[in-house]
Symmetry: C2
Subunit: 154 residues, 2 copies
DNA sequence: GTTGAAAAAATATTGAG
DNA sequence: CTCAATATTTTTTCAAC
């Protein structure tokens, strides 16, 4: 799971546009497209590249609202609780955290009614939370799918 | 910015794998690849498809730690503050929220020292926050880049 | 809005350095 | 690992329905 500068250039290109032709990446980094192809395959196999996804505007597919949800879980019920949460429709991300919450997750819903249903009928009643908090996202001011790829690790 | 069932099928395919050949999508939905091509172009132009991104393992490119940061902003300084935050390296997402925090953001850092530096030298000292909280992400238990595409909006 | 066919371009594969 | 050549497949364009 080691990567070199050539790999880093390839990752930068594919983070920016996952559909960039390998031949164009090859041109940029002055290598053959077969090399790019080999390296991409290797990074896919090693799990460095986990996939390629279209970034779709949530509103266009019917999600008018999203929220960040903090949860405090009763001791000893973490695993059980996580399994339930993963299965809830609209849950996009579940993080285990230090600090005020044990779990912070991001959820999407069609509208406020769906969000209410998601929170109160699917999450809160799961039983196993001592406290929850729903922070409605009024707007995502900034978002990038391109983490800067540093020239070297460390 | 209206989409029909054919568009939805295309979005499902491209959310799952942004590099799926149009010809294969065409086969699946039993239309010509020229049609798929046209529709993708249209959805790109309309902003329904915002881009295509490789999902790269943050650890592979040197990010060993991430955090969710809650911020409370002094009234009247929101715009100024947001501009500063956007420019901070490692900030991946900035959300404006209701509830306990005005802003909730997700940040990535190489290690705890970098996270400390990011928080205390780049964020906290921005001045304009009455309170901040850093919740270190111990693990991302679940994450999807594929929001379910409902058959119909609503 | 869709199609089919042709042209252009890209990708996968192979063999060799 | 990298390259170059080839075979295969895909993307793109366009006239026509």
């Amino acid at each position: 799971m080691e990567i070199d500068d050539t790999d880093r250039e390839i990752l930068r290109a594919l983070q920016e546009d996952a559909r960039t032709p390998f031949s164009e990446i090859a041109r940029r980094i002055e290598m053959s497209s077969a090399t790019v192809h080999d390296r991409v395959n290797r990074m896919e196999e090693e799990g460095i590249i986990r996939g390629y996804h279209a970034d779709v505007d949530p509103k266009a597919i019917g999600y008018e609202i999203s929220a960040i949800v903090g949860l405090r879980v009763e001791q000893g019920r973490e695993d059980e609780t996580l399994e339930h949460l993963k299965a809830v429709d609209g849950v996009q991300e579940i993080n285990l955290t230090t600090g005020e919450w044990d779990i912070v997750m991001r959820v999407f819903a069609a509208n406020t009614e769906d969000l209410r249903q998601l929170m109160f009928e699917e999450v809160s009643q799961l039983d196993g939370f001592s406290r929850t908090q729903t922070m409605v996202v009024l707007g995502t001011e900034y978002e990038t799918h391109e983490l800067p790829v540093p020239d070297r690790n460390q």
